[in-house]
Assembly symmetry: C2
Homo-oligomer: 283 residues x 2
């Protein structure tokens, strides 16, 4: 096992297993074929063809599309087809910053394979010039990757919330970081990956932030998503990433970026370019 | 004009205008068609087919390939086909860190369209918490992009030299940065682009470094490559990048990465993801 394995795991998928999903002329997602079959029952909302699925053309505004798709999602939920309902809306668009096409319940995002966004915070302290990273362990009841190591703060980006505002909110909920401290976090970039998870295509982009924390800061979780926190030297973080599967899949990507940006990994490594190029795919 | 235009310029190319160039089973470059025609005269060194160019199979070691290709390069130089001879060897491999296949005179690299590597240094100072970037202006007699704005320190990676050692050497030659100061530079990542320049395909990867300089440091150029230096606030750097073509093409890519990593550009920009994803292409 190696750091490269962590990156490869985030890009592994077979696009032929999915049907293109679109709105108007834009292709905006990749749909599970069983989901497409279910949607045949809703011809006034979805046009399911042999080679793609499209939102019905008469749904020609954000509000029409959002309402119609939401009613389908709720029906599929009642039938047990959609599980893990979050009551949280994500905005769907052809790409980041483009015109929003509709809002979608978060639990439905993987079924459509549309682009989703999140924020991840590298919370660290410096001891004698060495960097130590705060790492959380996900609660045992989390639907995705229970018990795995996670960032101090991480969360999906809900509809209508700006990335930095979301980070501040999550920092309070997940690690009790006071607002005035969280506001010192610095945006450092965006990473992207496209992978299969539980039979769905995840097409995610993560906004990464760095926050140097005071030496005496101790995180406390409020929302029950994290079981406990630990502070690890980068050497141990690197070892866990390279030799184990202990970290949640996408956290590995963000931490490898952190190790590169902070000069912990250097171009003298033969795999340096592969690591750096593996942190994103072209949109 | 916009920051995105600077990025797009670094990725613009029409791959169909080139012939694949390879060694053994590996495709390692993209050759200008007129170069391929010239190489038909050297059938003991190059096999020029209708759809690709390969190094002759009997040249089955690094040394054989390097010597045979070098002799061809020198003949093409004498005939005036290759100009701007540098007397500097670059190592050619299928990818970074892979087995070196041969050494190639730097002036020949664009003709073969093989991967080349360089180091770029963001040299900056902090004034009242604001970042100012040292920027050089390329000498009027430079073969590429004379008079354009450039990094404080930048250079190609010659054969057998490690990236950080090359940075230290270039820092002394290009900006008179003492070794003990240059050694504080931190590697921050790798960027890549593939673009057409003067009819050749450039397939470059740049290793980026950050160095915070003392407020009283003033760079002096030793090798004649830089005409003068200036210290600019990031707002002015961003304005020049977004509104002018004053910066050398690839310097824009490295500085946009710097603006992203230091939180000067933020995910609240609608074009943030496109900017971040545009900093590299998958190898």
């Amino acid at each position: 096992m190696s750091l490269l394995d962590r990156i490869e795991a985030c890009h592994r998928h077979d696009i032929s297993r999915y049907l293109p999903f679109g709105v108007g002329a834009a292709q905006i997602g990749h749909m599970r074929r069983d989901m497409a079959q279910e949607l045949r029952r809703f011809p006034s909302v979805f046009r399911v063809g042999a080679s793609d699925v499209r939102v019905a053309e008469h749904l020609d505004t954000f509000d029409y599309r959002s309402a119609a798709i939401d009613s389908v999602m709720r029906e599929l939920r009642q039938e047990g087809f959609i599980r893990g309902w979050r009551d949280e809306l994500f905005t769907v668009a052809a790409q980041y910053g483009a015109e929003p096409l509709f809002d979608l319940e978060r639990a439905g995002v993987p079924l459509f394979g549309v682009k989703a966004y999140g924020v991840h915070l590298n919370g660290y302290v410096k001891r004698d010039g060495e960097i130590w990273l705060w790492v959380g362990r996900r609660a045992a009841d989390r639907p995705i990757e229970p018990g795995k190591l996670d960032h101090l703060v991480a969360g999906g980006l809900p509809s209508g919330v700006k990335p930095f505002d979301n980070l501040i909110k999550e920092a309070a909920e997940e690690a009790s970081i006071p607002k005035e401290l969280a506001r010192r976090a610095r945006p450092c970039g965006a990473l992207s990956y496209r992978m299969e998870l539980d039979g769905c295509l995840r097409d995610d982009t993560l906004f990464t932030y760095d926050l140097e924390l005071p030496a005496d800061f101790v995180p406390k979780n409020h929302d029950g998503e994290i079981a406990d926190f630990r502070l690890l030297p980068l050497s141990e973080v690197e070892r866990l990433l390279a030799e184990t599967n202990d970290f949640k899949f996408n956290v590995g990507l963000v931490i490898i970026d952190f190790l590169i940006r902070h000069g912990y990994l250097t171009p003298e490594r033969p795999d340096y370019v592969q690591l750096a190029m593996g942190l994103s795919r072209r949109p």
